[in-house]
Amino acid sequence: MTLRIHSDHARFRSIVKGRVRENLRRFIVQGDLVAQHGRKKVAIPLKEIRLPKFEYSWEDQPQAGQGEGKEGDVLGTGKPGEGEGAGEAGDQPGEHALEVELTLEELAQILGEELELPRIQPRGQKVLTSYTGRFTGIRRTGPESLVHFKRTFKAALRRTISSGEYNAGDPLVVPVREDKRYRARKEVLLPQSAAAILYMMDVSGSMGEEQKEIVRIEAFWIDLWLRSHYKNLQIRYITHDAEAREVDRDTFFKSMESGGTLISSAYALASDMIKKDYPPDDWNLYLFHFSDGDNWSDEDSAHCVDLMNQRLLPAANLFAYGQVKSAYGSGAFYPILEKAFPEQENVALSKIDDKEHILDSIREFLGKGR
């Protein structure tokens, strides 16, 4: 049912989205939206939106209440925003936080607007059947509620003329059962592009909690953006130290190894997965690799560049390497890639020094529009 309030509500929502956009950097740095991973909607705490007024500041004033208890009893905690315990004759002092719910699509849109991200042009189309909701087809059977009057009448007219019943002087046309035409839903083949993200991360000893947190936050926003472009999105995770293995999401962000680092192991595993599951003609492939830039040897780094050139880059829409700064990492891998792929279209490199840089890094990765 349409209510008049819906237009005012929509206006309010757009004001809220504006606020979210203004505060996007803060939300990203705090990372508290990431905790809601896996839900269809995210709840975003905003400062209450209100018009300023000349008002008493009641907070530190006594108020009246009613009920049991004796002097000195605690009635409720005074965290602002809960409005608990406070209030007088229907009045509710105290700062009220406003919790707004946005769908992931809305959030992605805000991210795109704020970072001025170009929309992605999907590559390779996997054709999938999907039904459109439109009643554009015609059938000879169906419910009476879907009778197509004009077509039915035409059919009846045609029948009466061809059978000679039609009398131009008394043009009475009565449709019979066989004349009835019904609207029907038409099945339409719609191309739907499929995409896969392969996340790779260095979990060797030099990657600490802080570095992983950065990766976790960044991955949330990357997922969000890509999900808004591809209905069919698969995400897989690879961790590596000296050897690589595929893991589930939880393990990916939590596991902690010691030991050395062979980046090529991850790249080799990724290329095997691509070969097996993601033929490039059908899939839009996104490869994200995060590490602190440490690698076992220069030979291995050279091997990585080879693997990328021969196997990863031809298959991928985008290969993104994010180098998270850590106290122990040498950061040597970044310049190697920078040198090897100075002008490569589908390679994005980014240095993420701290949480503040996540937003810029997302822009560097996704700003290519691939």
């Binding site: 049912m1 209510l3 008049r4 309030i5 237009s7 005012d8 509500h9 929509a10 206006r11 309010f12 929502r13 004001i15 939106i49 018009l51 300023p52 007024k53 000349f54 008002e55 008493y56 500041s57 009641w58 907070e59 530190d60 004033q61 006594p62 108020q63 009246a64 209440g65 009613q66 009920g67 049991e68 208890g69 004796k70 002097e71 000195g72 009893d73 605690v74 009635l75 409720g76 905690t77 005074g78 965290k79 608990e84 315990g85 406070a86 209030g87 007088e88 004759a89 229907g90 009045d91 707004v100």
Partner: protein
């Protein structure tokens, strides 16, 4: 007779008002009139839950002007409704006829209870002194406001009009409750032709501002007395000659606005004065409605089998809310207390001075004026006056009233006191002037450069300084010259100024 807008409102609802409830309404009305109530004409209508949320977001007027804050109210109301945190059973619109929305799907007992409750509200709207001046054709008036705002949006741009509305709404609480009575008088006199002598006695001013000045100047108020005592009386030709409490009225008359802007400010003022009596009489109004729905239901509204359900529903209404004051409960029990005291003659000097506890407990002069008294109170008082006159130490003890405050060290609200004086003064502090600070226009030509000077009549509670500064920005947007606010902050006299680009304070 149906309201002209009834047709439009009818469209809201898909359920015709059932015949059996028409019968209930007739019976309730007859009974209520016999008891001395005068609810006037009421149109009942059922709304779906989300329609009720919509109506509540618009303060009962589905045709209000477009503004996002109604959308925000809806967001919160409808969310809390769909999560099952709150249910709005009823809304009444103070109009002639009154409109009452009932919640579709309520049980028959609840519907009847709400109808009885509504009779109480409608009687109150018609007979409480603070409501005498309200526009009884507000449904149409609001629709008219909406049409004007939409026209300005089309002509001057949606965002520009919205921004100006935001500005005006920041100032909407700067109204003068005393003017309610002048409005009532004006309404009365405009209705009936006045005799010539009365006409002669009224000074005639051409400017609307002077008329409102004239009204205020003759309004006896504590502020006026205080003003007389002030040594530095304003210099000659001060403007306004005496401080004016109706800041909003002053701005409508005097601010250098474009026509459409003045009209929007006027709309905001009209609506502020329409809602002001409801803000001032929340406890009275709800108390009166509960007082009567209990009586009507017990007398006319229940089959014996429904008694338990009714009692259950009723107890939800008058339950003590944890840590928050329930105006339904407080108002209802105060009215019952008044009735009881005036039935038993528990008032007057003899009662007040009687210290003998046993005698007080047995006290009954068989005066039996309780009902008369409650009707008198409903006609003449607002919340602050009600509590000032009728809150007794016995009542405070009996209804377990207390004061509480934030203890910053514990970060928690702590029960502070159950002492009568403390409870009473706390209640009054929150209810006087509807809980809003009192500001007045002191000088419209401050520093001889047409700056605006407002004064906050500080009564012990500071203003929120951050908010006040933001509000000064809004005020500047309307006045277009530097604006100043005199107040007291943390014991120090302060003047906050906004000159259009910079905030300063002295």
């Amino acid at each position: 007779m149906r309201h002209p807008d009834a047709q439009a409102l009818r469209r809201l609802s898909f359920i015709p008002f059932p015949e059996e409830l028409v019968q209930v309404k007739r019976e309730f009305m007859a009974y209520a009139r016999k008891q001395g109530l005068d609810p006037g004409e009421i149109v009942f209508d059922f709304l779906s839950p989300s329609q009720i949320s919509e109506a509540a977001s618009y303060d009962g007027f589905p045709g209000r002007y477009p503004h996002w804050r109604f959308g925000m109210a809806f967001d919160q109301l409808d969310k809390s409704r769909s999560w099952g945190l709150s249910t709005i059973y009823e809304m009444v619109v103070n109009n002639q006829p009154a409109y009452a929305y009932l919640l579709e799907g309520s049980t028959p007992v609840v519907v009847r209870m709400v109808m009885a409750h509504v009779l109480g509200h409608c009687d109150f709207f018609r007979h409480n002194a603070f409501f005498l001046g309200t526009n009884r054709n507000m449904l149409n008036e609001m629709a008219n406001h909406a049409a004007r705002v939409k026209r300005y949006q089309n002509r001057h741009g949606f965002e520009r009009v919205e921004r100006f509305l935001d500005t005006c709404l920041s100032l909407e609480n700067l109204v003068d409750p005393n003017l309610l009575f002048w409005r009532a008088r004006e309404k009365e006199s405009s209705g009936a032709p006045r005799d010539d002598a009365a006409k002669q006695a009224e000074p005639r001013f051409s400017s609307t501002y002077l008329t409102s000045y004239y009204r205020t100047a003759r309004t006896p108020s504590a502020a006026a007395k205080e003003r007389k005592a002030e040594p530095e009386s304003p210099p000659l030709k001060a403007f306004p000659e005496r401080p004016l409490r109706g800041v909003l009225d002053f701005l409508v008359d005097q601010a250098p606005l474009e026509d459409w802007e003045r009209d929007i400010l006027e709309i905001v003022r009209e609506e502020a004065y329409y809602f002001l009596p409801q803000r001032l009489t929340k406890i009275m109004n709800e108390g009166w409605a509960v007082f009567w729905h209990t009586r009507i239901m017990v007398a006319k509204g229940l089959r014996p089998s429904e008694l338990v359900e009714y009692s259950d529903e009723n107890s939800k209404i008058i339950a003590a809310w944890p840590g928050r004051l329930n105006p339904y409960r407080l108002g209802y029990f105060l009215f019952e207390d008044i009735r009881d005291r005036w039935d038993k003659g528990r008032h007057g000097p003899e009662w007040e001075t009687c210290q003998d506890r046993a005698r007080r407990e047995r006290w009954d002069t068989r005066e039996r004026h309780g009902m008369e008294k409650v009707f008198e109170v409903r006609s003449a008082f607002d919340d602050a006056q009600l509590l000032d006159a009728f809150l007794t130490p016995e009542f405070v003890i009996k209804s377990r009233l207390f004061t509480f405050r934030l203890n910053p060290r514990q970060g928690a609200y702590v029960l502070e006191s159950r002492e009568f004086q403390k409870v009473k003064s706390t209640l009054l502090a929150h209810l006087t002037n509807g809980g809003e600070p009192v500001l007045e226009v002191v000088d419209a030509n401050h520093a001889n450069r047409s700056e605006l000077l407002l004064r906050h009549l500080h009564d012990g509670v500071d203003l929120k300084v951050g908010e006040a500064r933001q509000t000064l920005h809004a005020l500047h947007h309307v006045w277009r010259r530097p604006v100043n606010l005199q107040t007291v902050f943390q014991g120090q006299p302060k003047t906050y100024t906004f000159d259009g680009s910079r905030d300063t304070e002295q």
